[in-house]
């Protein structure tokens, strides 16, 4: 019974923890401008993150070591440093976006300017990272994040034309009001939102935090291959709700307040309460994960003591890095930049940096010295190589598309 509960908890947490501010905003923007014409990208992104997370989780479980510890050792300090720099900067941008997301979520409830919440949100993140146990932190935000299922409920309550939605999803096309370059820009952004690097750093380091071993690979696979796809369904529901309500009205999403309007329209006040709880949990949970990821990447590369399974006094530099990153995130937001703009840039640059983080994992997952007989099978490698091509193409196309389209304007 206890084991069933643990398995269920792992899967539910994976579903609820899948969506962050990047997924919320990007899926809503895409739904309001392209309908479900980019649904295929969500599917591609979910398969990609399943592959990516499974490999890195397996590496951590079998080797007992997390991502950056192995990257530096296996690929050398120079390659490791290039990897670290790209990953850390993207992580910092994502952290700023998530802290901004928490503040925007609080604005939905209070009507108070989000900049008044930046410091409070960052402080709350720090307190939870400092005091809460790893599993409590992960489970609480993951379970509360399940409230975002309200998007799927609302899609049904809105009584959409299902055949039209299916047509948009299965026969994607660029609407007459949009440019092909803008369509592909958002395809890259959506892909970047699904495969943000911090998810993998957190997942693999979390495997070490929770003491996963080879015997836990079954649970790990279940979390990834059941939890993440169901989380992907939430992403599609966000896009669908925007497609049903906002697209016909010509409202293209530019703020978090617009993301929740379809939920209000379809489900009223009760649905609104659920969605706000879900958004707060998703953004706060993602802020916790990106904060921890920033500590994990630096500490693992530098060989410092790290982990929430150690007392703070036993890993002082790990905790100091996280504090500095939270301060830096608030400083970015304090410049007055729109948190939504930070979010959009973070998902695009996630796509740019993906090859640097994906390739080392693919190499190590095939290395028998670290993995023994748990190396990638032929099928996984075949899919892995296809995704390598997709990731490199997305990475190369991201910045030119951003320039040509004015960041999707």
């Amino acid at each position: 019974m206890k084991q069933i509960f643990a398995v269920a908890l792992g899967v539910l947490t994976a579903i609820g923890g899948f969506v962050d501010i990047g997924d919320l905003v990007t899926n809503a923007v895409v739904g309001s401008r392209f309908g479900l014409g980019l649904a295929w990208v969500v599917v591609v992104g979910v398969v990609g993150i399943c592959l990516y997370a499974n490999m890195s989780g397996r590496v951590a479980a079998v080797s007992g070591r997390a991502t950056f510890e192995i990257i530096r050792e296996r690929l050398g300090p120079r390659m490791g440093f290039a990897n670290l720099t790209a990953s850390f900067l993207i992580n910092l941008l994502t952290l700023a976006a998530e802290v901004g997301g928490v503040a925007l979520a609080l604005q939905l409830v209070t009507g108070v300017e989000p900049r008044l919440f930046f410091v409070l949100a960052a402080f709350a993140v720090w307190v939870v990272v400092w005091r809460a146990r790893f599993s409590a932190l992960e489970n609480a935000t993951g379970l509360l994040g399940l409230s975002l299922i309200v998007f799927a409920v609302v899609v049904v309550l809105l009584h959409p034309d299902w055949s039209s939605l299916a047509h948009q999803a299965l026969l994607p096309s660029v609407p007459g009001s949009e440019q092909p370059a803008t369509y592909w820009f958002y395809a890259v952004a959506l892909f970047g939102a699904a495969m943000t690097p911090y998810e993998v750093f957190f997942f693999s380091s979390g495997a070490v935090e929770e003491g996963w071993a080879k015997r836990d690979l079954g649970q790990e696979r279940l979390n990834v291959f059941v939890g993440f796809p169901l989380g992907g369904v939430l992403s599609l529901a966000i896009a669908a709700s925007a497609a049903i309500v906002l697209l016909p009205l010509g409202v293209s999403v530019t703020s978090l307040s617009q993301v929740v309007m379809p939920v209000l329209h379809g489900g009223g006040l009760i649905a609104f309460v659920f969605v706000v709880v879900g958004i707060l949990a998703a953004t706060f949970g993602a802020a916790l994960e990106t904060t921890l990821s920033s500590g994990y990447t630096i500490a693992q590369y530098a060989g410092w003591s790290w982990g929430k399974f150690r007392r703070p006094s036993e890993a002082p530099r790990f905790h100091l890095v996280m504090i500095v990153c939270l301060v830096a995130a608030v400083a970015i937001l304090a410049t007055g930049v729109d948190p939504i703009a930070v979010t959009e840039f973070s998902v695009v640059f996630s796509a740019v940096a993906l090859p640097l983080t994906y390739i080392p994992i693919l190499i190590v997952a095939n290395d028998r010295e670290y993995m023994g007989d748990a190396v990638n099978g032929r099928a996984v490698n075949a899919v892995g190589l296809v995704y390598l091509v997709v990731i490199v193409v997305a990475s190369l196309a991201a910045i030119p598309l951003m320039i040509i389209t004015g960041a999707g304007a």
Partner: protein, 138 residues
């Protein structure tokens, strides 16, 4: 070696310039884009006011949407003002767009004031302002 390196740098600079130029658009296109953004923001504001009336949306969220719409309209207005209109036709189009953005801004401000004072704002003025902007944006 040095000439290969400088050739490579020149190549990158030319590529970036070409990509950047590909993103440039004419004054009518920029006017359409600004009007389109303003129309989207005003439509969103109209929807928020309707939801406040029909779905019991809390005033906090309605006010947030109206506030966000004002920011978008301000940006659109600045974009239109900053356009370098070279011909009389372009100057006339710019004036028309600025007037439409002003009308929409007034409608949003009015809705926000009514909401703050406890009155029920109407979405009629917002819907009509959005329609006028959509016309310009198409």
């Amino acid at each position: 070696m040095a000439s290969m390196g400088s050739r490579a740098v020149r190549g990158v600079v030319i590529a970036i310039a070409l990509v950047s130029l590909a993103g440039c658009s004419s004054v009518p296109d920029q006017l359409r884009d600004a009007a389109g953004s303003a129309a989207a923001a005003t439509s969103g504001a109209a929807l928020a006011v309707r939801l406040h009336h029909t779905a019991g949306a809390p005033s906090a969220i309605t006010d947030t949407v109206l506030s966000d719409a004002l920011t978008e309209l301000e940006t659109a207005g600045t974009d239109v003002t900053d356009l370098d209109a070279a011909t009389d036709a372009e100057r006339a189009a710019r004036s028309t767009a600025l007037e439409a953005v002003r009308v929409a801004t007034d409608a949003v401000l009015d809705a926000r004031e009514k909401l703050a004072s406890g009155e029920e704002p109407s979405d009629d003025a917002l819907a009509s302002a959005a329609a006028a902007l959509e016309e310009l944006g198409s």
